[in-house]
Symmetry: D2
Subunit: 338 residues, 4 copies
């Protein structure tokens, strides 16, 4: 943490700042340049709210020198993490394909989809049982019943399973039935839920919030890991911008940026980000080409009759065609196809 | 709900759409124009996922005719709502000033601030006991202890009180100690929390999410009201944009837009939106001038030592000067100053 | 300009950076803290592309210490500037109201509008003769003919006049007929046009670009002033965000932010920013309340038949009612009403 | 164009709208549904400003049925366009790589770079001679001198050439020396420049504006084509969002979206969008994988000493490694590598 004083900062102003820092049990390192004076802070910065320094007289800016997240930070964990999910794992050397319906609608539907996505190469079955919906009058999911179907689909196909959770109650149910839980975009900064996910013992897929910076996203991951759960996978799913031709704007550059910042695996969701089945195949290929560790893709037996997110769901034929197309991209990227 | 077909839509495509609608127990109203055919849907639209229609052949676009929120909608409740909070109320004819520290830090601090803000004209004391913080290593609040101090401050000063809640546990505690609960920006689409707030019986201040559209915000209010709690107050607190000169971008135009859309009272928070105490007075005046029903302002006895959000907090002198300045603006707007 | 090295920067890395700086004829000021080493640059920074330093090994970040704009900067010109426009002026102590049609449509139309807006208190007549339109098939303006009508309206009413320019040709015509030229949002970073406007000798209203930061906006003003033309007025007219309930998002906080950064006068355009006549009055009042020096408002004799921007234009009755309402706000803000 | 009336629209309101349309020489097609009445407009819509209709009583919304751009629209030109540039061409079946320095700095520099990028597979040399810079004090380019060096580099290497233009003067110079001109992001809605580019006779690379929607971008292309110049290539170069980890946010989804909307070729610029050489290779591969027709990449002999955009420039080694990596991606996408 460095405090840059304004060009004409008075001695009095400088002393006020250094006094404030020392009063909190920290030391200062003073550097008087030709142009400006810079004050470095030495010691445990959690002892003071450094943001407050900006209101001191003659303080120009506060420059953080280190990220606030540690456990998710590549600096301290240079090797990439592999996260085990049921009988598969996400990380370097392989491409993970999570596929399934946006919402679990019935046991038959889920089993049919599970068999088809498995055949086409998916290793993890996704299916929403608790649906966060913009309007209270939209379908909200089958809840625990849906989770039970997930378990049956797992037993029937051998697929690992993932389900979104929206509350402690949902986590407690999920622990009984699925292999991985998902924190959705709207809950990315629901810090209570992040802590509970951290305590659940299950690996966690953490979707990026619609307007979350990469830094905030990694701090959200830190909440989970700080509870003793290192099995966090990040999922880019589009951010909110002014462009409306796609539902959100898929920020694929986040993949290489995250690669430099964190050791956690990175997944891309081309379905929610684009909002249209037409754009899923090209963006899935692009995600593999920029080195994502996996994909989350919505697949439905009958998109026109889906209870949620039909427009962005692939039918079986399109999904199978896509995974076939992905194989040579996996080869190029040095990843085994499931 | 209107479905606009593409200019050259085939008869077959039109029949597929009308068949789909009728198969869900709804009726169609077909209109063949010179240029395009339009299909109106008659009946209870909650019976089908109309969004899916976009994937049907030759469908050009889906045009919603009515908003998805009903209880928060001015169309069905033309008169403005007044929300009672403890011994005061928020709505037409008066200006409500909520003031207090970002975070409750100690009993003494809170009592001192409560007395000062009351003297300057505030009628509701704000104070955070559960703090959603970006980093898990930042101060997270005094929790229930903080709520008890809020109750003591209320008893000592006669101020009504408001506190943010982040979980069911926090709501259950808040019910015992404060007059109003707040759903923060990061939880605006935490639908479980919205429902629980709706069931709490307390009036709810619903802050706008950082990237929430006004439509999504009113749908979030609908979640609360749909649980039988009509006492919702909306709080504009800035949205996330590309501009970094302020912490967020205060969207003051939302005030007159909301006035047309909803009957709920509207409050503006110039502290969190701008992130700097310097910008709070001008934006507070602007908010009153565009007809906000109230203000939420952060006030601290010693901003430089605040545990949270010091840079945007007003000290006592600045706060008293601001409320003094606001009085003639209240007169102009036909609102009584507390 | 300060270079912050990474925590474990090697001696070699530090020497490479200092060598690079010295090789450009500048001096370094080295400060070795406990945590990081900081390198200050002393001398004329225009001699090197400091942005490049970020690619040097072990460089963590580059921290600018001073703004890149000088002539527009309040630091070097602490007193507010008053800009003379025809027989009126824009700046402290008065409220300037610019009003008129989006596009000049005919001589009769313009004269009628000019008389009405003058009666209601406007001192500057606005009217577009060169219209930048999204589609090439939309009405593009009367060009020089329109400027002549502006001159006639000026002679008939005594109003000063302003017109948008989009090319050198338009500037050359404008110099003959109007008192002030306007650079529109889409041309805010058309640097050639900025330079030509700087050489025109006329005062310039510089609208903020739709996605321009305040810093970029002030740098655009710097282009004009650097040509020897200090008569620049800034106009906030909304930025592009995700919210679609208004055409753009009026960033009123920009008014107090600019007040701290620059000595130039600041005008607000509630018409283009909101895109709806309904929101113009509340946002006009809010702009005055946060201390804008003036307003630019679209007024049309018959908005329903306007060739451009009808939905956001006030008719004569609404405009007169608004200026009447603004008077007491001017009094409160210590500004004379025209 | 369809006008949707409000649910309880009166007969009088409907008649006012239909009268207004008919008074402009157009016909109406009236459809009275159960819920709402819809008014279709038949005839040449350019005759009236349909946007104005929103201010008529009881009008709920205006729904455009057709895009405002025609010549750039795939609906009317289903086959993909190939644009010839010097002795190469951009379009289906091949991958075009444009490479070179951000700014032309000297003849020697340019020739060195030209030879190296040609060796690595580039077919078009880029080099800026007119630089639009945020600050007036930054290096602004060598202007016509720079263009002459471009011509020399073309003669020495056989590469085709492209240069950004910022004014009519620059276009007139460019016509003499280079094969293609570029309209930069900041000038995407400089409609005068677009028209002049349309009249230049040269193929035009049109970069997307920082906050331009895809619809606005295609309308900008329409300006060029409407002048009789069909040789337009679109270049996605990132949009402005809240995320600051990259300079802008590369909107790769724009590639498949454009593919559906237009017949024009699409190029991606991973250098300007990300702002860091580190992210150029992964995003270049992603661009090819989602079917871009080409890439524009900044290459510099000595990035640390570049006069502009050093941090995002690849050196020769990195560029050659990247093109080598791209070859198998070209194969997969059915595109020949230059």
């Amino acid at each position: 943490m460095i405090i840059v004083m304004k060009p004409q900062a008075s001695e009095q102003s400088i002393r006020t700042v250094t006094g404030y820092i020392e009063e909190h049990g920290l030391q200062v390192h003073l550097s008087r340049g030709e142009e400006v004076t810079i004050i470095g802070i030495v010691g445990d910065k959690t002892k003071l709210s450094t943001e407050n320094l900006i209101i001191f007289k003659d303080v120009d800016r506060i420059v953080p020198v280190t990220e606030s997240y540690k456990l998710a930070n590549k600096k301290f964990h240079p090797n990439p993490t592999t996260v085990k999910v049921g009988n598969t794992s996400i990380g370097p050397g392989s491409l993970t394909i999570m596929a399934g319906p946006c919402a679990v609608e019935s046991k038959e539907q889920l089993l049919t989809i599970a068999r088809e996505v498995r055949k086409a190469g998916a290793t993890i079955l996704r299916g929403g049982a608790y649906k966060p919906r913009t309007s209270p009058y939209s379908f909200q999911g089958l809840e625990e019943e849906g989770l039970k179907y997930m378990q049956e689909a797992k037993e029937a196909t051998g697929l690992s399973t993932i389900c979104e959770v929206v509350s402690l109650e949902a986590i407690e149910a999920a622990v009984k039935y699925v292999d991985m839980i998902q924190i959705g975009a709207r809950n990315m900064q629901n810090f209570i839920l992040l802590k509970e996910a951290g305590q659940s013992g299950l690996p966690v897929l953490l979707k990026r919030g619609l307007c979350a910076t990469i830094d905030e996203w990694l701090n959200a991951a830190e909440y989970i890991i700080a509870e003793g759960n290192p099995n966090v996978v990040l999922c880019e799913r589009g951010i909110r911008t002014f462009e409306t031709a796609t539902r959100n704007t898929l920020d694929l550059s986040a993949v290489p940026v995250l690669r430099r910042m964190t050791h956690l695996p990175i997944i891309v969701d081309p379905s929610h980000s684009t909002g249209s089945y037409r754009y899923v195949p090209p963006m899935a290929k692009a995600a593999v080409a920029c080195d994502a560790d996996g994909l989350m893709i919505e697949v439905h037996n009958d998109p026109a009759h889906a209870l949620s997110d039909g427009p962005q769901s692939l039918n079986f034929t399109k999904f199978a065609a896509l995974t076939e197309e992905l194989k040579p991209f996996c080869d190029l990227m040095g990843r085994s196809f499931p």
